[in-house]
Symmetry: C2
Subunit: 200 residues, 2 copies
């Protein structure tokens, strides 16, 4: 990991906690024992780091769209356990993934004053995942694995369970690992109840 990568990593870490404006170039460099002028070799200015991280969000959303496509489309049968397991995986390995989680934290701060950040937040948090859930529920309904209900409603309800748990147990929690653990068990309980209502 070279110093440019370190700079990006530390910046994301600080931005995701305190927000872009509250983090100084000194803070970023201090965390790496670098002088400020070294940062300006890698980035034109402080803003350029934020722009770089925003681009990472766009790339991530695009790459995830593909990954979900191949992962979900093969579901053939389904059970309560499986349903809960997939939701937990979604929670733990998408939303709670260290990089995705920090990007979401950062965006959830910046979105309050920056419409562009708000767009990106909505995409990574809801729009892209909803697209994927939609597909899956539509397929499941076609295969008569679940009741015939509007797929978009099911997707919203399903994803709402996961994102709410993410907001309650992970975002803002100083003990992330503990939050993921609690979150997983709450998801299991809520998704089980959800599946009970939609299974054939």
């Amino acid at each position: 990991m070279n110093n440019k990568e370190n700079l990006i990593d530390v910046s994301l870490d600080l931005f995701s906690k305190r927000g872009f404006s509250a983090v100084s170039v000194r803070d970023i460099c201090g965390a790496l024992n670098l002088k400020e002028s070294a940062l300006y070799y890698h980035f034109k200015n402080k803003e350029a780091i934020l722009t770089y991280l925003y681009q990472q969000v766009d790339q991530l959303v695009d790459s995830m769209r593909e990954r979900f496509d191949s992962a979900f489309s093969i579901a053939k049968k389904v059970s309560t356990k499986e349903m809960a397991g997939v939701a937990q995986g979604f929670f733990a390995h998408y939303y709670c993934d260290k990089n995705i989680r920090r990007l979401i934290c950062m965006l959830s701060i910046e979105r309050m004053s920056d419409p562009i950040a708000n767009d990106k937040y909505l995409k990574i948090m809801y729009e892209m995942p909803l697209e994927q859930c939609n597909k899956v529920f539509r397929q499941m309904a076609e295969r008569k694995l679940i009741k015939d209900m509007p797929a978009d409603l099911l997707a919203q309800e399903y994803l709402g369970i996961i994102t709410t748990v993410f907001d309650r147990h992970v975002l803002g929690n100083s003990d992330i690992d503990q939050g993921i653990l609690e979150g997983c068990s709450e998801i299991a309980r809520n998704i089980s109840a959800f599946y009970k209502e939609i299974r054939v």
Copy 2:
């Protein structure tokens, strides 16, 4: 509205958008055409404004606990329309209330670095409302108005619909009124589907 109240109002407005650290004493006073020294007559320092706003959150949570108690406990019959209407009211007049909304925005920024803000966020956003929803669903189940399901699960699902809509359409939206409008119609649709699953 005297100048202390104005200072609090403007501070909340700016903190809720940019976050506490990103707002300067100059910004606050500039918005009111006041000199910085005037602020220091009313508040010991910048931090004291934040502390004051945090206390407002505590008071609000306490006062809301009482208000909900009296408003909800009288429900005797229930319909899809009523169910959706109550949820919309909850959304529009609790979460989207100008002051509550701005406090939540502020806390949703500060919580990323401040555990105390996180506690307050969870209380105003979830814990207190969940307590109230819990009571209502328990009562409704007792009166055989809905299926016999665990009240806490129902409360979580019900509130999850509202808070998700709030996050998607209001927080970070530069056109709040439009967001509330969209949010209300989405809530109507989702709560109707929810009620269909739990009614007797």
